[in-house]
């Protein structure tokens, strides 16, 4: 699906390129692509307790990913990758909004997220909220998550990539799980300009 997305991004970019000199028509959104931030509709709470909606993201490039604090392997790995990328980019990322959206709002309250995120780069913001609002957010990103019962407890399957958006809300690209920093950092640089 991620490979398919890459192709779709390429073809949409191609269509935009072709159409640009002829018409100013809006290119229809590919149903497999994440929506632009401007077309999203959700309201979540950040780890400091403030309400955040898609409108709050406009004006700054965004890096967002889905995860949960009970996740022992994928999520700390992604958070570490992101912390390393931010460190490598230094002051270039000052304007970047970096967000972890919890797919486990049942356990991830704002206080739990705050506690968890204190271990990573302080620029990473945690978002949580009602299950229906998290579902609306996931739908906007064309992301997926599901709860799986396990040994009297549960775990979550979830989209593992990191989504990148331009400051005006256009979807830019996805950094795949554990993608080599040689590819990840140029992708991030592209939304910073």
């Amino acid at each position: 699906m991620i490979l398919g997305l890459g192709g779709a991004v390429g073809s949409v970019a191609f269509m935009v390129g072709l159409g640009a000199w002829r018409t100013r028509d809006i290119v229809p959104t590919d149903p497999r692509l994440p929506l632009p931030v401007t077309a999203m509709d959700w309201s979540l709470t950040d780890h400091r307790g403030a309400t955040v909606t898609p409108a709050n993201w406009i004006g700054r490039p965004v890096m967002a990913f889905f995860g949960f604090t009970f996740c022992p392997d994928v999520c700390p790995t992604t958070l570490n990758d992101i912390s390393d990328w931010l460190e490598a980019l230094g002051t270039e990322v000052e304007r970047l909004t970096v967000v972890l959206i919890s797919v486990d709002p049942e356990r991830d309250t704002p206080a739990v997220l705050a506690d968890y995120l204190s271990n990573f780069d302080p620029r990473i913001v945690g978002l949580t909220g009602s299950l229906s609002e998290v579902q609306k957010a996931a739908a906007g990103f064309r992301a997926m998550f599901e709860k799986l019962p396990r040994d009297g407890d549960y775990t979550m399957n979830h989209t593992a990539g990191v989504f990148l958006y331009h400051a005006d809300g256009r979807f830019a690209s996805i950094i795949d799980f554990h993608e080599d920093r040689r590819f990840a950092i140029p992708k991030i640089r592209r939304i910073l300009t």
Binding site: I2, T69, F70, P72, T77, N80, N157, T159, H178
Partner: protein, 157 residues
Amino acid sequence: MKHLIPALLVLMAATPALACETYTVGDLTIEHAWSRATIGAGRPAVFYVEITNAGSVDDALVSIASPAAASPMLHETVVTDGIASMPHAMSIPVPAGQTLNLAPGGYHGMLMGLTTALNEGDSFPMTLTFQKAGDVTVNVEVLSLRAEGPDCVHAGQ
């Protein structure tokens, strides 16, 4: 001056962390056993290790057990179509002449039901059971939540 050299040697011997200890059972060498600090005891911890099979017979890691956690399990992080899932691994192959890495983003032990929160600098024992080589107990070093692995400098490297 005379005392300086022994003092340095003691210091150097003390520097390599627990995770850098090497254990052997049969043809298997087990090293780099580490975990990440947890926030409280309510969240699962993780277990990573490196197992080298110098023998000519394939083996497999079939279970892990530790007094630190009520239900340690072997898992594999699998990313399919961009979706991460964590299926239970019944048995992880350790083929002859190869090294199996339980490492971030792949195979790992998931330690549910922690007895206590794991803090950086702690260590706990972990018994690994192999299909052929049997049991071996190793010390697992708890590194920071930000750690990507132990920093080991091996003699001769």
